[in-house]
């Protein structure tokens, strides 16, 4: 479904991605893990069309996405939940959710999806008319995901869903992600929490300093030879991965 090949991205003089290649098959959940500054967010932003690469290609369902505006990619079935949620704080929960369906014409199906989202995240139904800025961090995360779902994406990109959230809330969030996969949505998730990532994803990529340093089935990865080095970039004391 998604094929990223040899992606190079620079911010001014700084290389953020150096030849990254990633593949996601339809129906999979794939995770990207790595320390801060590894380029994980940049990868998602480039796939979503917010950042332009200097070299490389991104193929979404066989069609290239490069040079397309982010809003065009939404109609092609791609949806990004960026790091930090970025809900529209001054607008209500209702407006946020409805905005997720921008670009869709099928009114009946939109209403159905809205109901699904509110059922998936009951707290949103409770706070339906409140300003989104008043929600707690976890609620905002759910709102952000709910909003992204409204686009009926075939590929959902999520950047750091667990950041700053209590473990119980993170459970809820990941339950929702699993439920989405059941519904046929492919998911590419960037995650700081290595355990979570390996637990939920079928396959995982490890990134460090702009490159993919290791990749494989999640189950095998943790005990694989060189995993620490791939993550941290140097040979350190074992057990350092929390």
């Amino acid at each position: 479904m998604l094929k990223v090949s040899d992606l190079h991205v620079r911010y001014g003089n700084v290389a953020a991605l150096r030849g990254v290649s990633v593949e996601v098959q339809a129906g999979e959940i794939v995770a990207v893990i790595g320390p801060n500054g590894a380029g994980k967010s940049t990868l998602l932003l480039t796939i979503a069309g917010v950042v332009r690469p200097t070299r490389g290609s991104v193929l979404l369902e066989e069609g290239s996405t490069l040079g397309l505006a982010p809003e065009r990619l939404v109609t092609r079935g791609l949806s990004l939940v960026p790091e930090g949620r970025h809900i529209f704080a001054s607008m209500t929960v209702a407006e946020n959710i409805r905005l997720g369906g921008t670009g869709r014409q099928d009114k009946a199906a939109i209403a159905q999806d809205q109901d699904r989202v509110l059922t998936m995240f009951p707290i949103l139904r409770q706070r339906y008319q409140q300003k989104a800025g008043q929600l707690s961090g976890g609620e905002q995360q759910m709102l952000a995901i709910g909003r992204a779902i409204m686009a009926r994406p075939r590929l959902l990109l999520i950047d750091e869903p667990s950041l700053g959230l209590a473990p119980l809330i993170v459970n809820q969030v990941y339950d929702a992600v699993m439920a989405l996969r059941q519904g046929g949505v492919t998911v590419l998730v960037v995650e700081q929490n290595v355990h979570r990532a390996l637990a939920v994803a079928d396959r995982t990529y490890v990134m460090n300093s702009g490159s993919v340093t290791m990749a494989g089935r999640s189950a095998e990865l943790k005990t694989a030879e060189g995993f620490h080095e791939a993550y941290f970039g140097f040979r350190g004391a074992k057990g350092a991965v929390a």
Partner: protein, 358 residues
């Protein structure tokens, strides 16, 4: 082996000397030409004084200022009041007797006017340098407006809407040249100085600078005051080049022109300021000539007035669209690098190698 900072300092001095040499060359060439050319080059050099003055603040702090022309006005009018013969002053203005009788040698008047302007900038700048974001440019803009309204209406001191005439016209090519060389030296010295560097840090990342113990507001104020002194000097030169001043002399048109010169060349470097003034002056002159009429054989081609300004505006827009960093960008003039090995920037060690080797 020389220390890197010594090499750097050498390069900066070389750059400044090269620019100075180019300016002197331009002046000398103009001196050999017709008076009209001399006038044009003199005006360009005066503009360069103003733009270099602006650069001291805008280039180093990264903050856009719309108010600098206010300093031209303050200095220009101050110098005028101190140098116009008392007889004329009695007719045009209604000054208190001490000021009316005052007549200073032009050099002293210029220095005092510039100093007064610096003081003005200190008073006005101190409270506003703390402003962040778009508020600071807007505040400087407010200063321009206040000064404009005052000069346009204070009949007794500035002549109000009427032109103030009778200024001694002492500014010729060589006076301007002297002034610009001094300004260039100060601008270069400040840019390379420790205080200048502190300000540039604040320009690059204000939060990091503050965390490192730099007080951005204080550094900006210093640059603002020095800048005002030299922009003021430019104002004095301009006033005594033309011989008359009105409130509209130092208002939006010249704000635009000088800003255009700064932007076209590149706001980040002295070379940019010089290039900007040169390019804009040349283009303006070409269109001014076209406006007046160019005779080809029996035909006279001329354009309606306003063409010059339109050309300038279009040029500025094109530069902003296609080369927003200006014609020159960050670059500072230096000798061409013949036979000198370019040092390659160090490639950060990739971790891949360390990961997969063992």
């Amino acid at each position: 082996m020389a220390e890197p900072w010594a090499i750097e300092r050498e390069r900066k001095i070389r750059s400044c000397l090269l620019l100075a040499a180019l300016i002197v060359l331009a002046a000398v060439l103009a001196a050999l030409g017709p008076p009209a050319l001399q006038r044009t080059v003199t005006e360009a050099i005066i503009n360069l004084v103003v733009v270099l003055g602006m650069f001291i603040f805008v280039g180093n702090s990264g903050v856009l200022s719309f108010g600098h022309i206010a300093f031209m006005a303050v200095a220009g009018y101050s110098s005028a009041i101190m140098t116009i013969p008392p007889a004329k002053k009695a007719v045009l203005l209604k000054l208190p007797p001490s000021l009316e009788a005052l007549q200073l040698p032009v050099g002293a008047a210029a220095l005092i006017a510039a100093a007064l302007t610096g003081l003005f900038a200190l008073v006005v700048g101190a409270p506003i340098m703390r402003l962040k974001g778009i508020a600071l440019p807007m505040a400087t803009f407010g200063v321009l407006m206040v000064v404009h309204v005052v000069t346009a209406n204070w009949q007794e001191v500035t002549g109000g809407r009427q032109a103030l005439v009778g200024l001694p016209v002492y500014v010729n090519l060589w006076v301007a040249l002297g002034a610009v060389l001094v300004t260039l030296a100060v601008a270069a010295a400040y840019k390379g100085s420790r205080r200048g560097l502190l300000l540039q840090c604040a320009r690059e990342n204000e939060v990091a600078a503050t965390a490192s113990g730099i007080d951005p507001a204080r550094e900006r104020l210093l640059a603002f005051v020095i800048s005002a002194v030299f922009v003021g000097l430019g104002g004095v030169l301009f006033a005594h080049f033309i011989g008359t001043v009105t409130a509209n002399t130092f208002y939006l048109n010249i704000t635009f022109t000088t800003l255009a010169m700064l932007v076209v060349g590149g706001m980040r470097s002295l070379t940019g300021a010089v290039v900007g003034v040169a390019v804009v002056s040349t283009v303006s002159e070409i269109f001014r000539t076209i406006e007046k009429g160019v005779s080809i054989g029996d035909l006279t081609l001329s354009a309606p007035p306003g063409l010059q300004e339109i050309a300038l505006a279009l040029m500025m827009l094109l530069i902003l669209i296609f080369r927003p960093q200006g014609l020159v960008g960050d670059f500072e003039l230096d000798w061409p690098k013949w036979g000198r090995r370019k040092s390659a920037p160090a490639e950060p060690a990739t971790t891949d190698q360390r990961v997969h080797g063992s």
